[in-house]
């Protein structure tokens, strides 16, 4: 047996990896003070390596912030644990009727790890907001933004070029085939706040077109809010240029009205917004109900009475979406999320997770495996008794 297989199948490795996992959870929990739940999740669990830093929010944070501890990330630990389990299985277990149960248990645990990895990679959280009596056919990502360049095609449709903020790196230039201009990013911040007085170095001083040339307020970078409910307002300054000349420089910020741009005889709209995904079906809000427990603001019941229309399957069906009773359709799950009676709209949290069934399958395998193993032990016990 090779030394490599011995190493990877070692029980010592299992103990070390489990110990590191506990440490990772502990350190990531501490880091939530500085970076929020979502930030800690991405940095420590959805990564191969992470460098932990003493949080400023802890006692003596300012003086101990220099302390760094390198850590294996969640993906590394999960992958190594999976390899450890597979190698141990090949090393110690022989195929037999009795060890079939052990194999099922190990298979279930491996499936659980794979399921979590798939969830990390592919789960997408979005929201869908629908006004009472209206319908919607798109979802908006909670934390991802895009620069949308739209051009009206006719009275009802527009052509959209959506550029992820990951492409808006200062100094980068983007030539998109459908657009008659290049987009050069000169400034980008993932979160910004407005300031009442513009200093001499305010980014808006470079803006030559649009509403920001007429406003007195300035803009500055703000700390990115990584809490689960955090609302960031990214902003970008872009210079648009056609083949001959610069068309001007615009500042586009999330939450601000979109800018109108005329290039020759064509009109475009420029907007920073939550990344959208259009669906091949629509959901109409027929009614909503928002009850609270008497004498409190504690929600008692959120209910959205909706009609789902899917032209692909000629499906038109009424659903009642309420807390813990989501609507599932087309690979998406619509959970009741928020409601505003003043404006008569409802908001669904929309989750897309292709690995959603893997944990159920894994638990089923582990359960069968345990029954199998304990069944054998029980049988052996009864044989000895006889």
């Amino acid at each position: 047996m090779s030394r490599l297989l011995k190493f990877f199948s070692s029980i010592r490795l299992t103990v070390v990896l489990l110990g590191l996992s506990v440490l990772l959870v502990f350190l990531a929990t501490l880091s939530q003070m500085d970076m929020g739940v979502r930030g800690a999740q991405v940095k420590f669990f959805m990564s191969f390596f992470a460098l932990w830093q003493y949080p400023l929010g802890l006692p003596y944070g300012a003086s101990l912030h220099w302390i760094h501890i390198p850590q294996l990330g969640g993906w590394s630990l999960g992958g190594l644990l999976m390899i450890n389990l597979i190698c141990a299985h090949f090393r110690y277990f022989k195929l037999s009727a009795r060890s079939f149960g052990i194999g099922l248990i190990h298979g279930g645990v491996v499936l659980l790890l794979i399921g979590q990895f798939i969830t990390d990679l592919f789960q997408v959280d979005s929201s869908m907001q629908i006004e009472l009596g209206k319908s919607s056919n798109f979802v908006s990502r909670f934390h991802d933004f895009e620069l949308a360049v739209s051009e009206p095609k006719n009275a009802t449709t527009e052509s959209v070029t959506a550029i992820s903020t990951s492409r808006l790196k200062p100094g980068s230039s983007l030539q998109v085939g459908a657009l008659p201009f290049t987009i050069k990013t000169t400034w980008f911040e993932p979160n910004t706040k407005l300031v009442t007085d513009r200093g001499p170095n305010d980014p808006t001083s470079t803006v030559t077109q649009g509403i920001w040339t007429r406003m007195k307020v300035g803009i500055t970078a703000a700390d990115v809010d990584n809490s689960m409910e955090g609302a960031n307002a990214p902003a970008v300054i872009v210079e648009l240029a056609d083949a001959q000349k610069s068309l001007g420089t615009w500042l586009v910020r999330a939450g601000i009205d979109r800018e109108s741009i005329t290039v020759g005889d064509r009109t475009f709209f420029l907007e920073m917004r939550n990344e959208r995904q259009y669906l091949p079906y629509s959901i109409e809000l027929k009614n909503l109900k928002h009850d609270v427990y008497e004498g409190t603001d504690t929600p008692k019941a959120f209910e959205s009475d909706v009609v789902l229309s899917d032209p692909r399957t000629q499906l038109t069906r009424r659903f009642l979406v309420e807390m813990n009773e989501p609507l599932r359709h087309g690979g998406l799950t619509f959970y009741q999320y928020q409601m505003n009676r003043a404006s008569n709209y409802t908001v669904f949290q929309v989750v897309e997770n292709p690995g959603v069934w893997l944990p159920y399958l894994a638990c089923f395998m582990v359960s069968i495996g345990l029954v199998w193993v304990f069944g054998f032990s029980l049988n052996r016990f009864r044989e000895r008794q006889a």
Binding site: S2, L4, L5, F8, F48, W75, S76, G79, M82, I83, I86, C87, F90, L121, I130, E131, K134, S136, F138, S150, K153, A155, T156, T157, E158, S159, V160, T161, A162, I163, S164, S166, R167, V176, K193, L194, I211, R214, M215, K216, D223, A231, A233, G255, I256, D257, S260, R276, Y278, H290, E294, G295, T296, D297, Q338, N340, R341, A342, S343, Y345
Partner: protein, 374 residues
């Protein structure tokens, strides 16, 4: 076989290193009914804004209105929180849009919303003094409105915005009419007719604590159709407070999200007048942001530093409780604020209303303060 397990992390690493999502996408989508209004800026509050979470659960009493002839109710732009109505306003050779929004009581006055209006017409922000000069008051349909009209844009593309604010005990209603063109008297007349038609609804009975009624129920603008349903009788202390003694003549107001309690006080005319009790973890960023928020509510200039904010405060002086108190006088409104820091939380007791009424109730506010038991 011995090397095969090592392929896993290599494959996983390569896979995760790939760009999984398209970073530039092209698609056709339905056109929005009209460009979203500039007030949408409010829907992305800055992180740390203590009001940021207020809006999502705010339950404003609805308001009935009658749109002038020709106005067409529009699909609500979904990004605008607390929007009750949106109308397309037909204007010759131009287009207009009217919005009606509802905010929690105490959100502010028309000056608070003036940034929206300036943004709409492309003007620079108004200073408090400039805003105060331009804001007028008028009684329309028996209700007192603050009004403002702003003209902006440029010679080729003039823009006009008319704003109005109606303060009621149940909500602050803010309206905005924007025109892509110069001001038109006919539209102004339509706007004012629309405002006169406003009939604020009452706070829903389910949101009001009704205990044993007594004949000595306080009168909060009893003749005004907009007066909310008011709870009468003994007012229990909010959760987390062991006890208090609510002065005679004060009553429990409607429950609101983000508030521990609301007390309604006899006011002047139909202006809202209340003591708002709220509790937050921590100190909400210290004295500076809190003091400036309270100053802004009264139209007073902000202070520049934490030291100035602290200097505004006076000792709490309540049975060993930690905290401070503020007495802020503006025109026409004043406020008295108790900021009690207890077990890591900040308790705010804020009396805000017409200056004369606040002064009149000051002794009873002190009576309430001295009765607080944590």
């Amino acid at each position: 076989m011995t090397v095969r397990p090592l392929l896993w992390p290599v494959c996983l690493f390569l896979f995760s290193a790939c760009e999984r999502a398209d970073t530039v996408r092209h698609y056709d989508a339905p056109r929005p009914a009209e460009d979203a209004p500039a007030v949408a800026a409010k829907s992305a509050p800055a992180a740390g804004d203590p009001h940021a979470g207020m809006m999502a659960d705010f339950k404003a009493p609805d308001l009935t209105d009658t749109a002038p002839a020709g106005w067409v109710r529009e699909a609500t732009p979904p990004r605008v929180e607390n929007l009750l109505r949106a109308y397309h306003v037909p204007v010759e050779n131009s287009s207009g849009k009217a919005l009606l929004l509802a905010f929690p009581p105490g959100t502010g006055s028309l000056e608070t919303f003036s940034d929206y209006l300036t943004l709409t017409v492309g003007l620079t922000q108004l200073s408090k003094e400039e805003a105060a000069k331009r804001i007028t008051t008028a009684t329309l349909g028996g209700k007192s409105f603050e009004l403002i009209t702003l003209a902006g844009g440029d010679a080729a593309n003039p823009r006009t915005a008319m704003g109005a604010c109606l303060n009621t005990p149940g909500a602050v209603y803010f309206t905005l009419l924007s025109l892509a063109g110069p001001e038109q008297p006919a539209v102004r007349e339509q706007f004012q007719h629309w405002l006169a038609s406003f009939q604020p609804g009452v706070v829903s009975p389910g949101a009001t604590t009704v205990s044993t009624p007594t004949p000595a129920a306080p009168s909060v603008a009893p003749s005004a159709p907009s007066a909310p349903a008011v709870a009468t009788g003994p007012v229990p202390p909010p959760s987390g407070l062991k006890g208090w003694k609510v002065p005679e003549g004060w009553a429990a107001g409607p429950e609101k999200s983000m508030r521990a309690a609301t007390l309604l006080l006899p006011g002047v005319d139909d202006k809202s007048f209340s003591v708002i009790v709220s509790v937050f973890p921590g100190d909400l960023g210290g004295a500076l942001p809190n003091a400036n928020r309270w100053l802004k509510e009264l139209g007073l200039p902000p202070v520049a530093s934490e030291a100035e904010a602290v200097a505004l405060a006076k000792p709490l002086g309540l049975n060993g409780l930690e905290g401070s108190r503020y007495a802020l006088d503006g025109t026409p409104r004043s406020s008295r604020i108790l900021w009690v820091k207890h077990q890591g939380k900040s308790w705010f007791f804020k009396m805000i209303g017409e200056a004369a009424a606040v002064k009149r109730e000051e002794a009873r506010f002190e009576e309430l303060a001295r009765s607080l038991s944590f």
